[in-house]
């Protein structure tokens, strides 16, 4: 066993700092505790996976769009604006 200088991270603590972990803003010492905990905790491993999947799914939502009528109105408005320029 290695000498552990800092107390182990709990699951509750891990879920609280997971965004800081993703953002890379977690201090080095906490990052080490985070990774040490993760390596031996199936629940937190699953939690991290769920969080990653959540973020991925958010990035894959189908794009919204203006209705064709609204788009046409917009181009008309543009022409009106240009006349006024």
């Amino acid at each position: 066993m290695n000498e552990v200088k800092t107390p182990d991270m709990t699951c509750k603590e891990l879920v609280d700092v997971i965004t800081e972990y993703f953002e890379g803003t977690l201090p080095a010492e906490d990052r080490a505790r985070f990774e040490r905990h993760l390596a031996k905790c199936d629940g937190c491993h699953a939690y991290l996976g769920q969080m990653r999947e959540t973020i991925r799914a958010l990035g894959h939502l189908p794009p919204e769009s203006l209705s064709p009528e609204a788009e046409r109105a917009l181009l008309d408005a543009f022409k009106g604006w240009r006349e006024g320029v």
Partner: protein
């Protein structure tokens, strides 16, 4: 070009963006219709998504988006390039969408509660009853640990899961909704998001954290209800 409009948007190199912005802005000032169309194609879907975070219907969201474009045109001579073009456009839209959203639900006690919730005290990332208490063998460790989702990618691209996702976002306090829309739906960087929303670094991160945590919880409930866990 096609890459940039993807909602997953990896951010292009800032100097490339600045050069692209300058070209577009110059063309707009000349009244170039193609430049306007390019801009509308590139940012239209994003603006629509952002507007829908604030107002209750597509029709109103479209009005907000149209008003935004008019404000962009009328203000283009004043655009100085201190922020990126899309940050500037997003700030204009957000101003209009927030105002419009407030007008649509003018019930005061509700908006007061909403503001209180926005400040978000006492919001654990995960329900505290999922963890062991001080009386248990391992306080702070899972009492009911999350399970691995089975084929998450496939499941999360179904209509039903997307509805769950959108409903979870709609239920978030406004500021959390804005941050998650820019960061995760549109793929903006923390810096640009902070800039567009006028947030401190910590605030941005806290809002993102709360938003993601709640959306994850909603998806977890969905996976468990559908028995899609391993």
């Amino acid at each position: 070009m096609g890459e940039q409009e993807a909602s997953t948007g990896a951010e292009p190199d800032p100097s490339t963006r600045r050069a692209d912005d300058e070209k577009l802005v110059a063309a707009l000032r000349r009244g170039d219709e193609d430049a306007f169309r390019t801009l509308v194609d590139e940012y239209g879907p994003f603006l629509m998504r952002l507007a829908l975070m604030h107002v209750p219907s597509r029709a109103i969201a479209e009005e907000v988006v149209q008003d935004t474009w008019l404000a962009v045109l009328n203000g283009i001579d004043r655009f100085e390039g201190r922020s990126s073009l899309r940050t500037w456009i997003a700030s204009i839209l957000l101003n209009k969408a927030r105002t419009r959203g407030q007008r649509e639900r003018r019930v005061l006690p509700f908006s007061f509660l909403q503001r209180r919730r926005d400040e978000g005290r006492d919001e654990p990332a995960v329900d505290t009853d999922r963890f062991q208490s001080l009386r248990d063998a391992h306080p702070g460790h899972w009492s009911r640990p999350p399970a691995e989702w089975s084929s998450p990618e496939e499941t999360l691209s179904t209509q039903e899961a997307r509805r769950v996702l959108l409903e979870a976002i709609a239920a978030l306090p406004v500021r959390q909704r804005e941050v998650i829309a820019l960061r995760d739906i549109s793929g903006w960087s923390a810096a640009e998001t902070r800039n567009a929303l006028g947030l401190s670094e910590t605030n941005q991160r806290v809002l993102l954290h709360r938003a993601r945590s709640k959306v994850r919880a909603a998806l977890e409930r969905y996976f468990e209800a559908e028995d899609l866990v391993r």
